[in-house]
Symmetry: none
Subunit: 345 residues, 2 copies
């Protein structure tokens, strides 16, 4: 059966391009609801003319309706989209990519969504959807889920209601508040996850970054201690992977610290650890939150990060990521990852 697919690919190699392009457009129309040609073309990064050509085609095929108020997907379009979901995966070679990454980094699983979430909102939204779905698969009722901050993780919230069934999960913030937007902090995200799924949440209202003295003191506080003990009971951690420099900036690190981090060759960040390109932790922030060692005993780790420019950061973290990690990323990052690996060898 797979043989047949490969034969088709061999004899009509331009097929994946066409398929993906139209899939992207159709998906965009589905997600955007009623949308015009120009807005659409911006969304899918195609010229207005090309979008027009393709939408005309899709219209002719009865997959979309196209009235003077805008374009909308038809039921048939939705059906086609649904049927094609898996094929897209196969035709795009994403499955091979997934296997490749899973093996090179020794991970539990890799899921790649088509597109590049940096350029494309669709990919971003797919990333969130898939993450939500995975979260549902990996959790049992009443378990504890630790979540970190960042835009990618935050965006998962809107798909949770749809994909996560009633399980009364408890969401705990995996780290304290860092100097960034409230919407992107672990605290807020844990709370929003809880709201979306009718679950509970426990939050850490502490600055992420503390002086040694204050840190030690706080660790003795019963409220904090109790919270930290939750980390040992955590079943699933869902976290992002950040670019080192960007995280340092968002944390409002001092110029000296930034310099230290930079000189150490840090490229990626996760859980307060900065990793260089070989995956070694070269710098650590005395962070309040889940610790690297604790991660190893967690059942499932859901690493969600996409965008081609984040590839280096992702790679650096994955080098020593626990083997029970499930990576959810996008085509852009994945391709960049294997490219970088190729260049090394």
């Amino acid at each position: 059966m797979n043989n047949l697919l490969q034969a088709q690919l061999k004899i009509v190699p331009e097929m994946p391009l066409l398929l993906q392009k139209r899939y992207k457009i159709l998906m965009a129309i589905l997600l955007a609801g009623e949308i015009g040609r120009r807005s659409l073309s911006e969304l899918v990064h195609l010229t207005e003319r090309e979008t027009r050509k393709e939408t005309d085609l899709l219209n002719q095929q009865g997959l979309i309706t196209i009235r003077s108020a805008g374009m909308e997907i038809t039921q048939e379009g939705k059906d086609v989209l649904d049927t094609l979901k898996d094929v897209i995966h196969e035709w795009s070679g994403l499955i091979q990519l997934e296997q490749q990454l899973q093996q090179t980094y020794n991970l539990s699983r890799v899921i790649i969504v088509p597109g590049d979430s940096e350029e494309n909102n669709l990919a971003k939204s797919l990333l969130g959807q898939v993450a939500a779905k995975q979260l549902n698969c990996l959790t049992q009722p009443k378990q504890i889920v630790a979540v970190t901050g960042g835009g990618t993780i935050a965006s998962i919230a809107e798909y949770l209601t749809q994909f996560v069934k009633q399980k009364t999960l408890t969401y705990v913030a995996a780290r304290g508040g860092i100097g960034e937007e409230v919407q992107l902090q672990a605290n807020t995200i844990a709370a929003s996850f809880a709201t979306a799924t009718n679950g509970l949440s426990r939050t850490l209202y502490l600055p992420d970054h503390l002086s040694e003295e204050a840190y030690n003191m706080m660790m003795k506080e019963p409220v904090i201690k109790e919270m930290l003990e939750l980390y040992d009971q955590t079943s699933v951690v869902i976290h992002g992977i950040g670019d080192a420099m960007e995280m340092a900036r968002r944390r409002n690190s001092t110029p000296e610290e930034i310099q230290t981090i930079e000189q150490a060759g840090a490229v990626g960040e996760a859980f307060g650890y900065y990793f260089n390109k070989d995956g070694k932790a070269v710098h650590r922030i005395r962070t309040v939150g889940i610790q690297l060692k604790q991660l190893e005993s967690v059942q499932h780790l859901l690493a969600v990060a996409g965008g081609s420019s984040k590839a280096t950061a992702i790679g650096s973290y994955l080098k020593h990521a626990p083997p029970q990690t499930v990576l959810i990323t996008d085509e852009g990052a994945a391709k960049e990852l294997v490219k970088q690996n190729r260049d090394i060898n």
Copy 2:
């Protein structure tokens, strides 16, 4: 699964065209062996430039090798071709056509090969291959197979060795020699079938067309009688369908007879009977050979005829063909057939 195919067709409707075109070229290269661009383009009815574009593509895909001596198919190309055989059928909508014809004419089965054997040697050769394969499927060891004359039937011989397994079949000529080329006579064909399959053959060395007197006399001859009795033991008849006027000409019919036939509105011919467009036998030649009545008790009838211009003839015969008939034809004839049927209704 079929759903998926339809979804693909919906979103990439140009796929069948590409697929078929390249399939045709690849098939042509396979059949022709080492062949040049210009000869090839003639074979597949494409301009030299387009053939070039496609062969370049196929070469790049590693499906053919392309040296200064000519182009040849690679093993991979053969594999692809083999895998794609069934898909081509589906994508081209031939399966639907087959079902349609099978129902309208109440036949046992219809097999349609892509292309038009009138314009395209590939279709012709496919027709032969499929017929050979079917013959293999429908026969049991030591059975008797009756064969008629004509180019289409004659061309089956070269594929018999490949497709028909050792069964020691006996081939009998279904009719006597008619005034045409030796190579196209039933006698010769029966003999060549026997040679190709290591079988036996019995031939009728009698003119097909006799005076009444001579006919009656001959029917009393023991040698002939014995031969004719074989027809009752025949398990499979494999026959062509001819255009009425063409057959009359090939038979060297007298001008008067031709006129009679023409006036009767005959369009098709088989087994010495001329049929008008309603399928009624309007003229009969006192032919030495298998009789229409005998056909009805034969287990399997393999009707092999292709080419769009033969559609009328094929249709006229099929109107009253025995229900155990298996029709093997080509896309050109099949499409023309349904078109004519549509025009009537």
